[in-house]
Symmetry: C2
Subunit: 81 residues, 2 copies
């Protein structure tokens, strides 16, 4: 089973990396860029076939290690095996 996790900054949290990307893109001549936000994307291959248990486990991983719940949101999607 594969879990796909998106970790993104909460709205209002300053994102210097996104700002740097926006500036670099403008420097390269790209126009029409209103905002850039950078987050993390993590794929985890899991043993087992219990989808609900996998989702609980991965959400626990997010809360304990993968995301900082104070400033970041996370979204977990579990692919069917």
């Amino acid at each position: 089973m594969k879990a796909r996790i998106h970790v993104t900054f909460k709205a209002g949290v300053h994102d210097p990396q996104g700002k740097a990307i926006a500036n670099a893109l403008q420097g390269l001549g790209f126009s029409g860029i209103d905002a850039v936000r950078q987050g993390k994307y993590i794929e985890i291959d899991l043993a087992g076939s219990d989808r609900a248990a996998a989702e609980r486990s991965v959400k626990d991983m997010c809360a304990k290690l993968l995301a900082n719940p104070v400033i970041e949101n996370y979204r977990v999607d579990i692919d069917a095996p």
Copy 2:
């Protein structure tokens, strides 16, 4: 319009950050983890409403700045405005 970009390592490319996450999760007592891969997730808010032009432009951004095409794949999804 919002572009959602996933940048991931190509298959076979060594991913030390993913390996570190896998080790840390095992250290925290999570079991059944076969593999972890870490990538980047970037959201770009774009002016304009031409979806095809936006997709071309964002793919160009990926090739020039956001991804390293030698070792990374990228996927671009454009949300309707």
